[in-house]
């Protein structure tokens, strides 16, 4: 542990791939039924709340979904959705393309790791939202502003986990070099990268979540176009149905992103004993 | 009832109901329909030392967990002092095979040993006193009580687990391959320790092991399990007397003879199945 930068958080449960259901068919069916029951119960609670709470506070689920259906045929909806997805994707792509190689490079040198540790640690702990007013003033309420904000917030976990990943690989290298004679290229391809990947994935997972959160936040608070703006806009017009509809769309986007990430992780790390062990548990 | 009392007796002769500490009656267990234990019957007298041997994976741990009341058997009963049990009961302690997992890594040795005492409401001072006593009984120094269990050697950790069981004040002690993961010398020491404790405290001990030498050396009777589902293939008396020692006892012709008998028993049954 002495080699790890202190900023690094270990992979937490929420960052791991879900365990696959390895149950007999009867158990699976029963689970599905209870899950459907829970979803129905949630809707019931929502529905009851919609007419018990003061009028105008919470629309009924039916009204919300009808509204959502109506929105889906409006071009503005798809424009907002597209902008959010594009901003999110661009920010994540940038953080990945810059953060991972940079992190791996820094992590491969203990000098660079130690030198940059405090800097990254500090930058990481600034709540990214604090720079919103600044980027808003300098850039304006637009796509570029949200992108800047999101990148400045999401790159740190990816960078820092990649540094940590490389440190792990480096420790292996020292060990290997003393015991076997292994060509460096072979080592990097077969030991270093596979060894580093799980840690990189952890960083990517955190980064992905933060990317989406900041994209929506930037739009919502900064007034830049996108789903976040639509939520704030609906609220400004006391249009609760529209507001709830957009919150549901954001959540659906979040679900989609989570699911996509799990799929990627399972694909990339299928061979990895840590994932296999997690799965087996 | 003393150990010498059981010496030379025929298998079921001594099983007068009042002297039976623990009994398995028609005990069977299946995991999700897959039968692991067939119909198992045996009775263990008070103060007796019984070893259960069998090939790896035969279901010894399952049997022991049923005896302890940790697992509801799917068939038959476990009787402790004549009463059928459905959950762990007072007076029955268990020492598990894997000491590194059965001791709480976040608690000091002392807190590990006092766990059963605090559970039954013993005041802290009294609990600590009993813990110190139990640790002394298993030959551990006072100063280890403040250490974490994982700071000790494997043998010492297993001693802590035994001390914890003793602190519970048990009449029956169930042990699941307690010495499987320690080195040979430590193993011999622990075997002698358990034998001595069993006699001094007049404990009833049921110990599971793969090691036939160990089983014969320790016990008054050896119960051999075999087959799929497992059943009691035979019960062998071990009339080796109360005073045993690692070199002397294991060198006697009687020992070799019983050993060979048990060995043949398990191998034969095993081969017959596979």
């Amino acid at each position: 542990m002495s080699t790890s930068p202190s900023a690094v958080a270990p992979a937490t449960a929420s960052e791991r791939a879900p365990r696959p259901a390895r149950q007999p068919r009867a158990g699976r069916t029963r689970r599905l039924v209870t899950q459907l029951g829970a979803v129905a119960l949630a809707f019931l609670v929502w529905w009851v709340a919609s007419f018990t709470l003061p009028i105008g506070v919470m629309p009924s689920p039916v009204a919300t979904f009808v509204r959502l259906g109506a929105l889906a045929s409006v071009p503005e909806f798809w424009a907002a959705f597209g902008t959010t997805v594009a901003t999110f994707a661009a920010a994540l792509a940038f953080c990945t393309v810059v953060g991972i190689p940079l992190g791996l490079a820094i992590g491969s040198s203990s000098f660079a790791t130690q030198s940059t540790r405090l800097v990254f640690d500090f930058l990481r702990t600034i709540p990214p939202i604090a720079i919103l007013p600044l980027v808003l003033l300098t850039i304006g309420a637009n796509f570029q502003m949200v992108l800047t904000l999101t990148i400045l917030g999401a790159i740190w976990p990816i960078l820092i986990q990649s540094i940590y990943a490389a440190r792990q690989g480096e420790a292996l290298l020292v060990e290997m070099a003393t015991s076997y004679q292994v060509p460096r290229g072979w080592f990097i391809r077969h030991i270093f990268f596979p060894g580093a990947l799980p840690f990189v994935m952890t960083g990517l997972r955190i980064g992905t979540t933060i990317c989406l959160l900041l994209t929506i936040t930037g739009e919502l608070l900064g007034g830049a176009p996108g789903l976040g703006f639509e939520i704030a806009d609906a609220q400004a017009f006391y249009d609760n149905e529209r507001m709830y509809a957009y919150v549901i769309v954001s959540a659906a986007l979040g679900l989609l992103v989570n699911a996509g990430f799990y799929a990627l992780q399972r694909r990339l790390l299928r061979w990895h004993p840590s994932v296999r062990r997690e799965d087996a548990r | 009832m003393t150990i010498t009392g059981s010496k030379g007796k025929a298998r079921d002769e001594g099983a007068v109901p009042s002297s039976v500490a623990l009994e398995a009656s028609g005990l069977g267990h299946a995991y999700k329909g897959r039968e692991v234990l067939g119909s198992i019957d045996f009775a263990v007298r008070r103060g007796e030392f019984v070893c259960i041997v069998g090939p790896s994976g035969v279901g010894q741990t399952t049997l022991l967990r049923c005896l302890a009341g940790l697992q509801r058997s799917t068939r038959g009963q476990v009787l402790v002092k004549g009463t059928a049990i459905t959950e762990p009961v007072r007076g029955v302690a268990v020492v598990f095979q894997d000491y590194s997992r059965s001791l709480m890594p976040w608690a000091s040795v002392r807190d590990n040993v006092t766990l059963p005492l605090r559970a039954n409401g013993t005041p802290k001072v009294e609990a600590n006193r009993i813990a110190a006593e139990s640790l002394a009984q298993v030959g551990l120094d006072e100063h280890v009580s403040d250490l974490y269990p994982w700071q000790l050697s494997g043998g010492m950790q297993q001693r802590v687990a035994i001390a914890r069981a003793l602190a519970y004040g048990p009449e029956v002690m169930l042990m699941d391959e307690p010495f499987a993961s320690v080195d040979a010398q430590t193993r011999a020491d622990l075997e002698d320790l358990v034998r001595r404790l069993q006699r001094d405290l007049e404990l009833t001990v049921i110990l599971v092991t793969h090691d036939i030498d160990e089983a014969v050396y320790l016990s008054d009777r050896v119960i051999a399990l075999a087959g799929k589902p497992a059943h009691v293939s035979d019960i062998v008396d071990v009339p080796l007397g109360a005073d045993r020692d690692q070199i002397g006892t294991k060198g006697t012709p009687e020992f070799a003879e019983i050993r060979a008998a048990v060995h043949g028993l398990i191998r034969r049954k095993d081969d017959a199945v596979s």
Partner: protein, 261 residues
């Protein structure tokens, strides 16, 4: 030993010093409205955050809010997480609903929470708690479900009561995971705190930022960013100190496992 410590310290501190010095001189003659000289930034930083009365006005509401929201997330996350971790069918049934709720980007709920709970302190506390609940909850569920089964057997054999089983076995066993979740939750609650404070006028760092933005006080904004960085850093250190104390056994045990392998 001491020499090594000194060398490590030097290695870690040189770059931050160089960066600050470069920033200082590179910005010294800056006339840009948005990137004022560092000396000016430090001036307003000192005025807003080092002067005790000012600092208290700006910081105390934030810390109180954070404490309540984060505290609520911790307590509810651990309690509900333990329940769901112990009662597996409950967790399995609720999983789709929970996945959905957790996928909502926390800040998107701000308008909803305003409509539901108003714009005052309770709404802010609840928003922070909702956002930072999930890492605590999910990690607790996982930690509780991952308890060494043999220890549950031990608890059974020695007939531990419910409460003792919970406090002597289950919670200590899950504590490393719970702490991992609590650390993520801390970062999230800090973000949501700033967001929540931009609503209404109860003071705090978020309000200060908003006010600076409205009045184009760029220096103050820079100062607040630095202040928030320092606050976050200090909170992280405090968290780590507590974690090191509580999980001392875990840290030492891991170190031992690593040195043995």
């Amino acid at each position: 030993m001491n020499k090594r410590l000194l060398r490590d310290l030097g290695l870690e501190i040189w770059l931050p010093i160089v960066l600050v010095v470069v920033w200082w001189f590179a910005s010294a003659s800056s006339t840009s409205f948005y990137f004022p000289p560092l000396s000016k930034i430090m001036e307003s930083f000192a005025a807003d955050w080092l002067d005790p009365t000012q600092a208290f006005d700006n910081l105390l509401p934030s810390l109180a809010l954070l404490g309540m929201g984060y505290g609520l997330a911790l307590v509810s996350g651990v309690v509900i997480g333990t329940l769901f971790g112990l009662v597996t069918p409950l967790e399995e049934a609720a999983r789709p609903v929970l996945e959905f709720l957790r996928a909502i980007p926390g800040v998107a709920l701000l308008p909803v929470f305003i409509v539901l709970f108003g714009i005052d302190q309770p709404m802010k506390v609840l928003l922070i708690a909702f956002g930072s609940f999930w890492p605590v909850f999910l990690n607790t569920v996982d930690g509780v479900r991952g308890i060494e089964p043999l220890l549950l057997d031990v608890a059974g054999v020695f007939r531990l009561g419910r409460a003792r089983r919970l406090f002597s076995i289950i919670l200590p066993g899950a504590s490393p995971q719970i702490f991992a979740g609590a650390r993520t939750a801390l970062a999230i609650s800090l973000i949501i705190m700033v967001v929540a404070e931009t609503v209404g006028g109860s003071g705090g760092v978020g309000y200060f930022l908003l006010d600076a933005q409205r009045n184009f006080r760029v220096q103050s904004m820079w100062g607040a960013i630095i202040a928030l960085g320092i606050l976050g850093y200090l909170l992280n250190i405090a968290f780590r100190i507590i974690e090191r104390l509580v999980l001392r056994w875990h840290r030492l045990q891991q170190a031992r496992l690593e040195s043995n392998s």
